[in-house]
Amino acid sequence: MKNDKELDNIFEECLERVLTGGETIEQCLASFPEHATELKPLLQTALAARETLEIAPRPEFRERARYQILTELRDMEERKQHRFSLFAWQPRWATAVIAVLVLLMASGGTVAAAGGSMPDQTLYPVKLATENVRMALIPSKLGKAEYYAELVDKRVSEIVNMAEAGKLEHLEATTRRMNDQLMAMSVLVGTEEIAPVALTAPPAAPEDVLAPAETAVEAPAMLVAPQEPQPGVMMAPPLPEAAAEKSPPARAGEPQKGKPGIKATPARPIPEKAPVLAPTPAAVPEPVIEVAEEDEEEEEEDEKLDKRAKLRNVLAQYARKHPDALRAALQRAPESAKPALRRALEVSNIEYEKLLEFLEEEDVEAGAED
């Protein structure tokens, strides 16, 4: 029994010395020659097991999971604050407008100066805050995605700059920021959605006050009732796109969430035939309105396609430019900065590939429909 205990201790001591002390098995066993024959194969097995377990999750998964977790936490906090906020009634875009006006009035020069700042400089937080405000003011998803592409481009320059300066902490933080922005762009473009199973569902709200923003925005104009008061029917005000898409950038992947405070607009079909004896002024030009609305829809669709094509071009350009810049930095950067740079390179390669593939598939589908 005593011998067993002694052997357990020696085995552990050697294991620890080899694993953390940098010794070889032979070096350690030289201290215990009487047990060397018995312990050597066991230590080899233990080390082989440890080596086999030197596995890691896919880097893009790791980054995405972090992004999703932090987004979920942010949402949770926001919901908590929203409950107690005095300004809970105030639309988020209005808050953003106020914020930007105050910011511009109070420190126009500072904001401008911060634009070119690097992560290790004092004004950098101002730069990030300005970016956030600007992002909040962009109403459309594609517009936001395009702005994210611009921000990723800025992050890449910053990463290269920090890598060359050997500023590891800033390099890693900027790499994470770039990865988050790439993820947010993916979510907006539609390649990724926050996996509902991986995240806790938001607290349920009563069905009658929930109207998914997408439905409200994309409801065909023909089916929306004219804005006239109806006794007993509570009408929602018209929903501008900006209000419908008022989520902040990092919350982009939450299409499944209800938007408390936005009431469902009951859609009433326009009657096929207007009453003969009492034609309303609106009944006569109805076909004209239909044509005009169809034109408008077509125009909107064309505009969307243009924006998508523009985004694809920008991304195709960045998909070449960014990896090149990161690879070049990898060659010049000090050893300590290389793991973060490699991660940035890997994530940007994967995300750009996915984004472009998705946008191309969509174009093919759109082409087929035409």
Binding site: L53, R58, I69, R176
Partner: protein, 178 residues
Amino acid sequence: MQNEESLVQRAKEQDEAALTQLYEENFDKIYRYIVLKIGDRTEAEDMTQQVFLKAFKSISGYKSRGSPFSSWLFRIARNQVVDHWRKKSKRPTVPLEETFVGSGNSNPSSETERKMDIENLVLATKQLTSLQREVVSLRFAGGLSVAQVARLMGKSEGAIKALQHSAVVSLRRMLATG
């Protein structure tokens, strides 16, 4: 420890940099632990994400009691794995004995330097007792020290060393014959 305490304190205040640091420092360890326990790398990724989500959501109630933050994460991971197997047990599975070939009657010494692969290792650890498996998972996959494993499992360091030793003897025998 002092550093970790202030880091956790900041994380409790939802400081994203602190949360990110805790995530970065621990994600791979928890992932390896789960891989070894369940044997499925993709599922282990999702489960690791769940562990961190749960941990960070309830971090305000975390008390260190002298243990590192990772011990708490491993405890959550262990519960997650238990839930996983509970759910799995409701579905029919192929018994491990049918997929793992090996007996103790061949010569183990000739095979020891052979490079293990993760599937064999997972199968081999499933032949261990549950305590041995837990020690191997926490020690070799999670990278915890004997003292940390002892604390986490509520046992003495001596007991953990004995479990570790006997587990490696069994692993060697099984891997050599597998």
